[in-house]
Every structure is written in structure tokens, then in C-alpha cells.
């Protein structure tokens, strides 16, 4: 019986809060992909549960309202401890339980009210903790310039975050202006691919296992070399070839190196231009436009025709 009660208490007070924390504080979970040691895991789990537990315990003693609502029970402290003593004695001894049947059930009913009240406040504190961690992680890009944030949340909570989360997402940038992440990936068989990062995958040890790319293009290196050797001055932009298909998975063991670029959205560049021109105080009413460059997916330049397109496919 003791084992059942202990398991139930452990589940409600430790495992369920930790599970909810890991599930709901999504941003935090995503960036902690690197494996932890057993001791770190223990400390992390304990700190997740300890904060709301201590908050509920302290507040229920400090404020009468928290200590008596919800599930109110008009009972003094000595009677409360007597109830816990009765319930514990009954758990330990079957004989005591049989001899004090009515007293035990009455104590259990009181304890249930106390525990439900405590759990209500503890889970409320847990929800606040999850929300705080979520927001502190989500706004990492904006908050990380503050020394207090760096020393506290940044160092303690995110100290073991995966470097790939920082490199392959806009995590490090302010939430309102996260850039799109584009990569040029040179493979071990000397192919150069360019695309935007849709997702990335990690191995159990936290190392990169692969990249999912969108808007993928491949550089026609052989054609470029042929044209160069024939005396032309090839425009490299013209040698990119679109690869049909929505998703392109690139295994990490095929990647020789990655050039990672953070591409700012055109509307944000336009806003930067407007802000800069407005700050000049020209004294003349004006409008500002940013006419974007033609895309590099333009038709093949420098005499390279579609007839030879399949050469290095």
C-alpha cells in the first residue's frame, strides 16, 4: 500500500510536472538537444519541479487565502498534522488501520482536500514557470544583449543548447525579425547545393544527422569549368539549376562544408531604408522604394544553352 501511495505522489509531484514542462515549454526543449549527463538531468528535473513546489509551499504559509482556498477546510495546524499521523500509521500498520477505521477515512478525506489545494497552487506556479521559460527562450534574440539575462537564464538554462539550433534557425535573432536561413552545402562528392533550411535533424549525441532543404538548386560545376576553360568569363549566377521537388534531404555525412546565410525579408530591408532616409531630414516630402535585384535563377547566361543542360546532372 505504501508503494502505491508513494508512486502516486511521485507521479503527481515530480514526473507529471516535469513531463508537462518538457512538453509545453516547447522552445526550451527544442534548443536543449545535446545530451546531458545523469547528474545534470537530475538537477534539471529537480529544479523544474522544485520551483513551483516551493512557491506553493511558501505562498500557502504566507497568505491565508492561498492556504485555505480552493477546497476550504476549517481545521487548525495541530489537527492537520494529527490527520497526517493517523493516515501514515494506517499505511504502515494494518492493525492500526483496522482499529481506527473511521478516524483513518476521516483523516484521508481531510488530507485529500489539503493536497488538492496544494496541487492547485503548485500546478498554477508550474504553468507560470512554463510560460516564463517559454517567453524567455522565445525572446532570446532580444534579451540576450542584457547582462542580467546572460548571467542568469542564458547561462543556466541555455548553456547546453544545441549549437545547430543557433546556427540553422533564426533563434539568435529578435523574434520580430528572424531571418530565413539559407545554406550553400558542398558535398563530399564535390556537388554544391543551395537552399533554405526547412528543418534539421540531430543524432543521439547532439551532432547533425541531416538537413531538410527547400528551394534547392545545384551548381553546375562541370559546365562552369568547361566554359571557363574555353576562354569564357562565366557568370556564376547563371550556372545554378533548380532541383524539382518540394523537399531535399541532405545527410550530414555527405556534407563537406556549409556556408550559412541569414537572409533578411525584403519588407524589413525596405523599412531599414525608410528609417535611414527619414533620419536625414531632407526637408522635402519623399517616398522611398527598394527595387530588388533580379533573382539569380535567371536563364543560363554567357552562351550556355539548354541543349547541354544535362551534362553534369
Amino acid at each position: 500500500m505504501i508503494a502505491i501511495v508513494a508512486s502516486a505522489l511521485l507521479g503527481i509531484y515530480v514526473f507529471l510536472p516535469e513531463f508537462l514542462f518538457k512538453k509545453l515549454a516547447i522552445k526550451f526543449r527544442v534548443v536543449t538537444k545535446t545530451p546531458r549527463g545523469r547528474f545534470e538531468e537530475l538537477i534539471s528535473g529537480a529544479s523544474v519541479v522544485l520551483v513551483p513546489f516551493l512557491a506553493a509551499a511558501i505562498l500557502s504559509r504566507a497568505f491565508r487565502f492561498v492556504g485555505h482556498w480552493p477546497f476550504p477546510l476549517d481545521q487548525d495546524v495541530s489537527a492537520k498534522y494529527a490527520d497526517y499521523g493517523t493516515a501514515l500509521s494506517s499505511l504502515v500498520s494494518d492493525g492500526y488501520f483496522r482499529d481506527h477505521l473511521d478516524a483513518t477515512w476521516s483523516a484521508v478525506a481531510h488530507i485529500r482536500l489539503h493536497q488538492c489545494r496544494f496541487l492547485f497552487w503548485m500546478y498554477l506556479a508550474l504553468a507560470i514557470e512554463i510560460l516564463c521559460v517559454f517567453l524567455l527562450t522565445y525572446f532570446y534574440g532580444s534579451l540576450s544583449r542584457y547582462p542580467l539575462y546572460k548571467l542568469t537564464f542564458g547561462r543556466i538554462f541555455l548553456g547546453r543548447a544545441s549549437q545547430w539550433e543557433v546556427l540553422l534557425t533564426g533563434f539568435a535573432f529578435p523574434a520580430g525579425s528572424r531571418p530565413q536561413v539559407a545554406v550553400d552545402a558542398m558535398t563530399t562528392d564535390n556537388h554544391l547545393y543551395a537552399g533554405t533550411v526547412a528543418d534539421y535533424f540531430l543524432k543521439a549525441d547532439g551532432e547533425l544527422s541531416g538537413l531538410l532543404l527547400k528551394d534547392i538548386r545545384r551548381f553546375r560545376f562541370q559546365s562552369h569549368e568547361q566554359d571557363r576553360k574555353s576562354g569564357m568569363v562565366p557568370d556564376t549566377d547563371g550556372y545554378w539549376k533548380d532541383i524539382p521537388g518540394a523537399n531535399f534531404y541532405l545527410p550530414a555525412d555527405k556534407i563537406a562544408n556549409l556556408n550559412i546565410k541569414y537572409v533578411t525579408a525584403p519588407r524589413e530591408l525596405r523599412q531599414d531604408v525608410e528609417d535611414l532616409v527619414e533620419s536625414m531630414d531632407l526637408g522635402i516630402p519623399f517616398t522611398v522604394e527598394l527595387e530588388p535585384l533580379p533573382t539569380s535563377n535567371a536563364p543560363i547566361a554567357n552562351g550556355y544553352s539548354d541543349a547541354t543542360e544535362g551534362e553534369d546532372d
Binding site: V31, G154, L158, R160, A172, F173, Y262, V288, E291, P292
Partner: protein, 64 residues
């Protein structure tokens, strides 16, 4: 493996393509401010070529 994402993210956000673009454009605008004013009064338009395309400033006033 210990990752210091604070240092990594600082390095990534310190000198971005966007900040380079902004700094270059700010320098260009500052050094050509007189030319821009004159051009807006005369032709109603001033054009600056950047790595992200042409920035076109157009006067809303009627050109003399």
C-alpha cells in the same frame, strides 16, 4: 561537448548581411546628403545602387 550559445549567437548577430547593408547605406546617404537634396529638387529622384538592389528616393513635390 560544451556549447556556449551566448558567444555563438553574439558572433552570428554582430556582423550580419543586414547590418552591413544598413551601415553602407547610412554612410552613402550621409556623404551624399547635399547631392540627394539637389537631385530631388531638380529631377525629383535620386537612385543609389546597393547589394540588395536600387534604393530610389522620389520627391513628392512637383519638380521645378
Amino acid at each position: 561537448m560544451t556549447n556556449d550559445i551566448l558567444r555563438l549567437s553574439e558572433a552570428l548577430t554582430r556582423d550580419t548581411e543586414r547590418s552591413q547593408f544598413r551601415d553602407t547605406l547610412a554612410r552613402n546617404l550621409a556623404s551624399n546628403s547635399d547631392k540627394i537634396r539637389a537631385s530631388l529638387r531638380q529631377s525629383g529622384e535620386y537612385r543609389i545602387s546597393t547589394t540588395k538592389g536600387d534604393v530610389v528616393i522620389r520627391s513628392k513635390q512637383k519638380v521645378a
